[in-house]
Amino acid sequence: MYKYIIRRILIFIPMLLALTIIVFALAQAAPGDPFTGQILDPNIDPEVYELRREELGLNDPVPVQYFNWLTSILSGDLGQSIYYNGRSVLDLISQRFPNTMYLGVFALAITLMISIPIGIYSARKPYSALDYGATGFGFLGLAIPNFFFGLIAIYIFSINFGWFPSQGTITSNNLTGITALIDRLHHLVLPGITLGLAGTATYMRYMRSEVLDVLGSDYIRTAKAKGMTSNSVLYKHTLRNALIPIVTLMGFEFGALVSGAVITEQVFNFPGLGTLFLQSVMNQDYPVIMSMCLLFGVFILVGNLLADIFYCIVDPRIRYD
């Protein structure tokens, strides 16, 4: 399996290169340049503008521009933000990155803690009241758009009851230790649930159908014929098999962890990568946009790799030699 993983990582290199070309091409194809917003300003001398373009290399031939860009990102220099007055892109991203990561992990944790037990229960007692309830919730969860659910959640739990904050990641910078952690988690609850909603619904349905499927399989009948108790049948013989596709799904989910929160972060005014991305698009801040597209791409590639590795681990039938 190690060989396989190394081979998979090597395949990354051409894929990443392809990714950089796509990102670069998209940025090239997008209309305007970082100064389009400002050129209309009559106070700026067109000559200064032209000078700036020259300085940034925007007048070079496209392949040269690509090559320059590639070499600089390879050396770890993601460039400077144009909108944020030349702040380093790396800086901007690493400042937002942890927030988005917390949010993603929190959302995933909630998703799993809710969806797996309910999915199992639904499968064990199909067509029970709880199963119907879960099915109903599942459809709602998939049908309600994130931003709408987020707004409702803010309205009810933040404005009406005042249980959870609706904005930001922390109350103040003065908190330390455990209080700071609790404060952070407190801020994560509403956006976390909002972000995890669709996933919860999906995983629940998945889990239900997987467990039902496995419970009807021949080897479960064998386990029963061996005298295994219903707990052993469920927790030993059924779960491990039912979780195979779920665990694989989770690998892919990893890629969505950083990129999936754009809308939710916007609703909760959450200073993460999603808001940064949206702002950069609005401001045509190409160095930031390009770096973030690359980052998202890398995460999706890593997610796919994780999915394959998980699959190898949980399903002994899969061996990549």
Binding site: D218, Y219, K226, G227
Partner: protein
């Protein structure tokens, strides 16, 4: 029934309650008994109720099915009303079972060793190291010379015949007095079939088990059975020793089955293969259940289902032709 009788099934009825108020009488008043060291064959075409009979003995009938009547004495104790929890103490310990599909009967994510050890730990309360040693012995017994390696292998690394051997090892691990084999070779290559059936026979002698051998193949019956039950439409239609059944078959259905058997000295008075298929258990005809396919069907067959009555000592037939 004697003191040593391993299994005695009396008046067993297992029905399925279908959606539109229909009842599928998959097993409808079945009686039989098995003695130690005896192989009782249960034959019949697909859909005649063989598997449901065997799963009823294991108390593994799932909704919408239910054992509605009858008694099942296993080693003298009626187990038909035992709770599911009590049944887990009996399944795998007092009765072992192997199934038709070895390819899917083992859990794909656990090793062969794990799946044998599990049953030993549960019923024999062995420590894991003792159980592991015993698992290796059992695998050697069922024909794995490299058992030390085999216990570390996963099912997908073994062929169908090998997996069926593992299933046999699991089934006999706790030395049960009864082994149920539900079409154990139907899914296997012809060349492997005899090996598996020989192994079952060998284990029967070694542990003095009673074996309920379910098959639709009279060739298998001829080779391995002591007594035979012919099942049709959820009922026993003929019951006899193997010799009697082959030399003096009475029931038109038995004759039909025998006729479809390829043989060198085919007798002329036998019927050709039976036409049609077994009706589903909620669509049995009124009267004799075989009447829709029977070449000897008479007026009275359409109204009254015949009883299973003794024809001679140890030979029973359910047919209006015999009275």
């Amino acid at each position: 029934m004697t003191n040593s009788t391993v299994l005695s099934v009396e008046g067993l009825k297992t029905y399925f309650y279908l959606d539109d108020n229909e009842i599928a009488k998959a097993v409808d008043h079945v009686d039989f008994a098995i003695e130690p060291g005896e192989t009782l064959a249960l034959v019949g075409e697909s859909g005649s109720g063989k598997s449901i009979t065997s799963l009823s003995i294991m108390n593994l009938i799932e909704k919408p099915g239910k054992i509605v009547d009858g008694a099942i004495y296993l080693n003298g104790k009626n187990i038909v009303d035992l709770s599911d929890k009590k049944m887990t103490e009996i399944r795998g310990k007092e009765v072992g079972m192997i199934f038709q599909e070895p390819m899917t009967a083992l859990n794909p994510v656990y090793t062969v060793g794990n799946q044998i050890v599990e049953v030993l730990r549960k019923h024999k309360k062995m420590s894991s190291s003792v159980a592991k040693k015993r698992a290796i012995e059992l695998l050697k017994l069922v024909g794995f010379p490299r058992a030390e390696e085999t216990i570390k292998e996963h099912p997908h690394q073994l062929s169908g015949g090998m997996r069926q051997r593992v299933m046999i090892a699991i089934a006999i691990a706790c030395e049960p007095k009864l082994l149920i084999a539900d079409e154990p070779t139907t899914a296997l290559d012809v060349t492997i079939q005899a090996q598996i059936l020989d192994l079952i026979d060998e284990m029967k002698h070694k542990f003095d088990m009673g074996v309920l051998l379910i098959t639709h193949d009279l060739g298998v019956v001829a080779e391995y059975a002591d007594r035979v039950l012919v099942m049709y439409g959820g009922q026993i239609v003929e019951s006899a020793t193997k010799q009697t059944l082959f030399n003096d078959p009475k029931h038109p259905y038995t004759n039909g089955l025998l006729a479809s058997l390829p043989s060198l000295d085919k007798q002329t008075d036998r019927l050709g293969a039976i036409k049609g298929t077994v009706p589903p258990a909620h669509r049995f005809p009124k009267g004799c259940r075989f009447s829709t396919r029977c070449p000897h069907v008479m007026e009275k067959c359409l109204h009254a289902n015949p009883d299973l009555i003794p024809e001679s000592d140890g030979h029973e037939v359910r047919c209006h032709l015999f009275k």
